[in-house]
Symmetry: C2
Subunit: 107 residues, 2 copies
Amino acid sequence: MAKLPSGTISVIFVAQRTELDADGYARAAAMMDNLAAQQEGYISMDSVRGTGGLGITVSYWANEANAKAWRDHPEHTAIRDAGRERWYSEYSLHVAQVTRSYDWKKP
Amino acid sequence: MAKLPSGTISVIFVAQRTELDADGYARAAAMMDNLAAQQEGYISMDSVRGTGGLGITVSYWANEANAKAWRDHPEHTAIRDAGRERWYSEYSLHVAQVTRSYDWKKP
């Protein structure tokens, strides 16, 4: 939950989970979180899922090329196919370049 | 959960709730969602809070001037002060301009 440099690429993934295959999904999500964190240009990730199965994950990348390389990573691509088949009923994904950023913590 | 036009301004708010004043917070959040939706240039909002009190809200605006006008709206400013005093222990806010956007729904 930190301030980001201007120019950071944010990838906003908003997705509705089905009720299928909770274990398989949890395993794949943990694996993807780990793998993403090892990629060049990875900065950080914020992720929340609500009780109704709606989730928002925002990953932050140093530049557009780094974000695209993660999109095209073979393991990520394979998992995305599984996501469409079993785990998600609907999603949107927005790629957006940070222009301003703030953070605050209770003193 | 829809595709957005390029140039859309996304305001990514990641915040950790305290355990204080759940009712006051819920009332204020509903009021702010309503008021935001009435502002010029408002497109939509995605919002999730997890069981641990971490929440992500992303609001989408037609342009930077519209997003700034909402930031500076007097009622929104007053609520933000209450948020720092009672409702949040920590947050970050990133303003980012959409460059690419996709959506998918199970056929």
